[in-house]
């Protein structure tokens, strides 16, 4: 998936997951987006195409209602001009560095050029050592700063908010964070390209500054030292200017020539300038350009193929709903007939927890009914992905009845409806807690995870999340078992 599509998908995901109360983006909207995107991309399309198309539709529709979302999405895209400005500023800086450095004489032992070369060598070493120290892909401080300036920003907060505003804020706060996570490798390469170019530009600026000023002033070359004699200086310069000497073909002057320009003596600096420029070109500019090119290639590849965390429940649900079979959820009430209000609540909770899953609710299994207490033997079509036991908190959990049923069902999430209990004992939290504890003990003894919900008035975000967690804990437990075998 390319960068722009990935951003759309991430934005759509931020809208759909952050808006827990479904104020901005309702269940109907979600369904519509699923159906419309599936209709447009057709059966043969890949999951990426489907997700991208769907995200486009989501943003289009929500953009008309919440322009702030569109603005934010636009706002967190990479700004190429920041890169251009950075490179130009680096060039200007390079020109200025030389100006600051020396007036009209070049101290052979302390020119800014040497500092530049030394710094870049340190950087090359760092680039080699970085994967060992920081680990792969983590951007260093310079890159992070650049990324922050050029794209991802923290959104603004403040003022009181109604439900829609609060929801929008959650979305807008979540999106940049989420995008920064998804696009981190791409942005890291991009920042690396800009920074390499900027380093090359700085070096070029230094040289350009020297030559430009060399046209109108005469630079004099000289050196002085408390500790070093001409021979040592010659040796030092021979080593440091060797790359320049190699590329320009100009030999480094001999000891006598160097002795001659010891301060207060001096000579015209043209030769030295060529040597220095050559050195900078070889040590800084060329390698940096190569690195920039490599970063650019990497950036292009990553921009074409942004990796989304498709194994997260949100994407899994969407993809499962489109390709392959939807998650099938089978709810098996045990000795409990749901009141109509609780039934409606159950549907909502299931929709929340399992997205567009196909959920069926069985006829209640009769209390202590041995023949039917093993639902695995039921003649139900297909094997559901998730089997969900449903109990009522009004019942006392009994090993012989409820426990036997759970044993037949195998470990998994168990939903305990509190609506009937609360209708009787609403004002007695202590009583509810002891009953909950009894259920928790029984369900956990059978390897399951109890989820307590008042189905008559479910707290949808919490209940949905708990149930999804309980079900996926089970699923990942299965995967772990499978790997173990």
């Amino acid at each position: 998936m390319d960068e722009s599509a990935a951003l759309d998908v991430t934005a759509a995901r931020a809208v759909e997951t952050a808006d827990g109360d479904r104020v901005l983006w309702s269940d109907a909207d979600r369904d519509w987006a699923n159906r419309a995107a599936a209709a447009i991309v057709g059966e043969r399309a890949s999951a990426d195409e489907f997700l991208a198309r769907r995200a486009g539709l989501v943003l289009e529709r929500i953009g008309t209602r919440q322009p702030a979302v569109t603005r934010t999405v636009r706002g967190i895209r990479w700004r190429p001009w920041v890169g251009v400005v950075t490179v130009l500023a680096a060039f200007a800086l390079g020109m200025l560095i030389d100006r600051i450095g020396g007036g009209s004489s070049i101290n052979l032992l302390a020119p800014p050029v040497f500092a530049l070369v030394a710094w870049n060598l340190v950087v090359y070493l760092w680039l080699l050592a970085r994967p060992l120290v920081l680990g792969r892909g983590a951007p260093g401080p310079a890159r992070s700063l650049l990324i922050r300036v050029a794209s991802v920003r923290a959104p603004l907060h403040g003022g009181p908010a109604d439900a829609a505003t609060a929801a929008r804020r959650t979305v807008l706060a979540g999106l940049p964070r989420e995008w920064a996570r998804v696009a981190a490798p791409l942005y890291s390469a991009r920042a690396a390209r800009v920074l390499h170019l900027a380093a090359a530009a700085t070096a070029l600026g230094v040289i350009a500054g020297l030559y430009l000023r060399g046209l109108v002033f005469e630079y004099r070359a000289s050196w002085e030292s408390t500790f070093l004699g001409a021979e040592q200086v010659r040796a030092l310069l021979a080593v440091t200017l060797a790359p320049g000497s190699w590329i320009t073909g100009i030999p480094v002057p001999d000891v006598a020539a160097i002795e001659a320009i010891r301060a207060p003596g001096s000579e015209n600096a043209a030769t030295w300038m060529h040597l220095m420029a050559g050195t900078v070109a070889v040590v800084v500019i060329a390698p940096r350009l190569v690195l920039a090119l490599a970063a650019a290639l990497l950036e292009r590849r990553r921009a074409r193929r942004v990796r989304l965390p498709l194994d997260e429940p949100y994407f899994r649900r969407l993809i499962a709903g489109w390709v392959g079979e939807a998650t099938r959820v089978r709810v098996i009430p045990y000795s409990y007939t749901l009141a109509p209000a609780a039934r409606a609540g159950l549907d909502e909770v299931l929709a929340r927890a399992f997205g567009n899953a196909v959920a069926t609710v069985d006829e209640p299994v009769g209390w202590g009914d041995d023949e039917r207490s093993n639902p695995m033997t039921d003649a139900a079509p297909g094997t559901p992905d998730i089997r969900l036991a449903l109990f009522s908190l009004t019942a006392t959990p009994e090993e012989d009845a409820h426990g036997a049923f759970l044993s037949g069902l195998g470990p998994g999430p168990a939903l305990v409806d509190e609506s009937a209990f609360l209708a009787r004992w609403g004002d007695d939290p202590q009583r509810r807690e002891t009953r909950r504890a009894a259920w928790r003990e029984l369900v956990e003894a059978h390897g399951g995870t109890p989820v307590f919900v008042d189905l008559a008035e479910p707290d949808l975000p919490a209940a949905g999340a708990q149930l999804a967690d309980a079900a996926s804990a089970r699923a990942s437990g299965d995967a772990g078992d499978a790997r173990g075998r």
């Binding site: 000795s335 409990y336 007939t337 209640p364 009769g366 209390w367 202590g368 009914d369 041995d370 009522s392 009004t394 019942a395 006392t396 959990p397 009994e398 090993e399 012989d400 009845a401 009937a420 209990f421 209708a423 009787r424 004992w425 004002d427 009583r431 002891t434 009953r435 009894a438």
Partner: protein, 495 residues
Amino acid sequence: MGADAAAGLDTAGAVSLSLISHTNAGKTTLARTLLGRDVGEVRDAPHVTAEATPYPLVQTGGGDLLTLWDTPGFGDSVRLARRLRQDRNPIGWFLSQVWDRYQDRALWLSQLAVRNVAEQADVVLYLVNAAEAPADAGYLAPELEVLDWIGKPVLVLLNQTGPPRERTAEDADVARWRAALAGAGHVRGVLAFDAFARCWVQEFTLFDTIAPLVPDASRPAFARLTAEWRRLRLADFDLSMAALAEPIARAAADRIVLESEPLAKRVGGSLGLPDPVRSKARADAAEQLAARLRADQRDGLQRLIAIHRLGGSAADAVLERVAGDIRLDAPLDETRTAALGGVVSGALTGLGADLLAGGLTFGAGMVAGAIVGALGGAGLARGINVVRGRSESSLAWEDAFLDGLVTSALLRYLAVAHYGRGRGDWREGEYPPHWRPIVVEAVVGAQAQLASAWARRGDGDGAVLRGLEPAIARLARELLDRLYPGVLARAIDAP
């Protein structure tokens, strides 16, 4: 020990009731509530009670005895019913008990219960969990089958109905279960009888319903036992009324004489000139008055709790609520209010301000709360009245405030009377919302009678009590009759 002890008790004039149900339906809780003492073990878990235990419920002077058996709950009822179907000979399964005892506790406990009922019970009290729909109580059918096999008359009690509710809701529950149990041959009646929130008046209905189910030979004895039960409960009622009325009568007669003031000051006061010394004196006096009321109310509630054989104490926290419970719901007499306004001088408004500022911190929160509650915040200082005599002024509770005390006393009485001991120590909870309107209505209806009681306050609390106690007793009976129509009248008319 069960069988032998019971055999000894099984003489003429003895009746046995067996409490039986699915496990954790609340048998022991109900036994505690009926007995008024902590028997057995109560926990929200299955199979807490592991043996059948007899408890003497009531005894007459003539040696009649009503025994209540608490039994283990039915566990695996389906299997129990199946085993009975296969093997109708009880000897067979008694022999297998040893095996079951270790292998299948639930089944073994069920057998114990069945055996007890089969051997001991004259009438079976079968408890069901009314919070569950009858259709969801999957154990119901096999358990009825077992009861059918036992062949004793069964009275179904709906337990776990929740806090007291409107009668229509209760009736709907009863109708639902009655319909579900229509086919069961031995079920002779269905009663809503919650172990947590039953009222003693409902026990009369329980006895009346049991009476025709008792074997013919025991009927005279049961009638005598019923009469004894009624006598005990009505005696409790009379004691309760005294416990309610006495603190209020004392509050009505209570007064604190304020120090007399020079004429000039009195004139200044009636002109509304502020006087910090007088304000302070009156605030102190009001606080004393409130402290006395508070202590009295606490003792009264403590007595009420003891009379109803409940545990726990009337904590101060509970009494803080009394103030909140007092609310004047009757329209104020306009002329009287106007006269009151004249008597209550500006200084008393100052008292109100004092109370508001510091009252909540130095313990007069009760007064502030009561006053605000009594008059809905309109006339802040009017809960306490300054009565100006010829030479001295005194501070006393305002009539409307005393009416408020009657309302709150009756509400608390209902709360205590509906508090089953099985629920544990008494603690104050929210009152069911349908109580307050009927209590207020009753108190407003009795205002004339109350006013005549307050009119005698000058003659001391004894005089007030003579008028107040019958008034409160009549109000309480009215209320109970409204909640449980006809039951009390029948009980009082009965020989």
